[in-house]
Symmetry: C2
Subunit: 310 residues, 2 copies
């Protein structure tokens, strides 16, 4: 239970960041595409192979300096079962290289179906008594619109299998406020979702002070990050929206506690497409990803100072 394994990796690397593995065909260097297409054709299998090879190279280049990866399920689902094979293989490979894996699926459903998702991604699947684990995932993003009975099955799986979830609280997109900022009495919807998140995590607070039920809070809303950090002292934050979407290191400082803990900041395109930004040889795409990870780490750590396990 709790995010202890993630927090320890963050402290070991002195790097509170996660790299979003959100491949799209236009992000993949030509030589990787051509090699996969030569083998499997310009097919869904060929693209899946290209995504997998791309991801493995990125993971190899960053696994000693970055604690976690966050594959975005949408881009793999888009390729059907072939894409899911690439997603599973990516999770397996990141796990084997010692990284913490956050699957970004934003899953949500009513109780019995939420159990299905929870068992799938955070637990094990039993077939006549024998257990299988198709998904090597440490944490999953979830959507709490359905309320407690849609979340409790995930929390139970976290407790049982030492996993975590991140509930969408205040998302990074421009129209997130349309519902999330509306006031219910004197509290906003995201505040209420934040309070529910804290309540759901209340029984799973680990030795570093954070529960297994984290919150997604967008880097694009620094005032809300500061407010939520104060109100939710035991809730770990997954923070998208740094870089491309506009969030800066200074905006994010308030997410972190006195030990430099409390959040993990995501960058997807900024890292995996760094070779385009750098305009370097595309064969150096993984090197460019590593350089961007180091730049981002230094940028954030210049605000945070250092990360210490209490």
């Amino acid at each position: 239970m709790s995010f202890n394994p993630l927090i320890e990796r963050i402290a070991n690397t002195q790097n509170p960041t996660v790299v979003g593995l959100d491949p799209r065909l236009e992000y993949i260097p030509e030589f990787i595409k051509e090699s996969a297409f030569d083998e499997l054709g310009r097919t869904l299998s060929g693209v899946s192979r290209a995504f997998h090879n791309f991801n493995m190279a990125i993971i190899d280049a960053i696994c000693d300096i970055v604690p976690a990866v966050k594959p975005q399920s949408a881009f793999y689902e888009a390729l059907g079962a072939e894409g899911i094979l690439a997603l599973q293989a990516t999770c397996d490979y990141a796990t084997a290289r010692g990284m913490y894996v956050i699957l970004d699926g934003k899953r949500n459903d009513i109780g019995s179906t939420a159990e299905g998702y929870a068992e799938a991604y955070l637990g094990k699947v039993a077939i006549d008594g024998e257990e299988f684990q198709p998904w090597q995932v440490n944490a999953l993003t979830v959507n709490g619109y359905l309320g407690t009975d849609g979340i409790v099955p995930f929390v139970k799986a976290c407790d049982k299998h030492d996993k975590g979830i991140f509930v969408l609280v205040k998302t990074s997109n421009p129209s997130s406020g349309e519902l999330q900022d509306k006031l219910i009495g004197d509290k906003s919807v995201y505040e209420i979702m934040g309070e529910l998140t804290a309540k759901w995590g209340n029984e799973s607070i680990g030795k570093y002070g954070y529960s297994a039920v984290g919150a997604v809070v967008g880097a694009t809303y620094p005032a809300q990050i500061a407010e939520l950090r104060k109100k939710l002292p035991a809730t770990f934050f997954l923070i998208p929206g740094y870089g491309a979407q506009g969030g800066t290191a200074a905006d994010l400082k308030a997410a972190f506690d006195g030990n430099g803990l409390g959040g993990i900041v995501n960058s997807s395109r900024g890292v995996i497409c760094a070779y385009k930004q750098e305009q370097c040889d595309e064969r150096d795409f993984a090197g460019a990803a590593r350089r961007e990870c180091l730049r981002m780490r230094d940028d954030l750590m210049s605000e945070i100072g250092s990360i210490n396990l209490p």
Copy 2:
């Protein structure tokens, strides 16, 4: 655009219902399990094969009297890529048998990733100019917590590819009110989500008066169904919660307009596990499913009267 194809199937069958294909290993008759396990072992592949064979038999038994099926993605994702193969094959088979396919995935993400989901499930995937369609799906359930920029990509895909979405408005589970019933000024969160849903569908109203952006409204909340039908005259409802969860035909009558249109009622376990309820020979599981579909149709139609295309 719009739900015209669904509405026409409903009128043709005089049956406003959808069968939820939510297989779990304990629902599958022994002879189907054994046959799949003999071929592929007690493995994720074996279970996936059993799910696929089970679904095909149910589809064969009901496709002339039921307009639509709704596979629940969670139970297939639980088996990894093998399960996704079974889900794709189920969607393909239902499509080939003339059924309308609603994929229950409750997907949601910010703009660029929502595009990924929308292209995947409702559109086509382009690989260097050639188009692939890994998913034979007519409609997808989505979660609107992220606001307009998380939904518009789905609406665009609906317009382009003649598909539909159902936005979670008032879900059928016991704790749905925790957030959804809270008041923002004098309106509940579900009412505001309902208004947003109507707004998102405003440009896609079809010849039968309903847009391509429907709403999920639980059968377990009849007062809210009646209220939302009045406020959202162009929003088609997907209604879970009939039967096992407690919703009755009388509870649902208010979802339908004067032509008997406006909603489609889901039953999952009630149909696919009807053979257990009936305690008939398990080899007659598909026959039992058909009998339950006829019973449910007659139950609903006794309240609705008849269904007429305006």
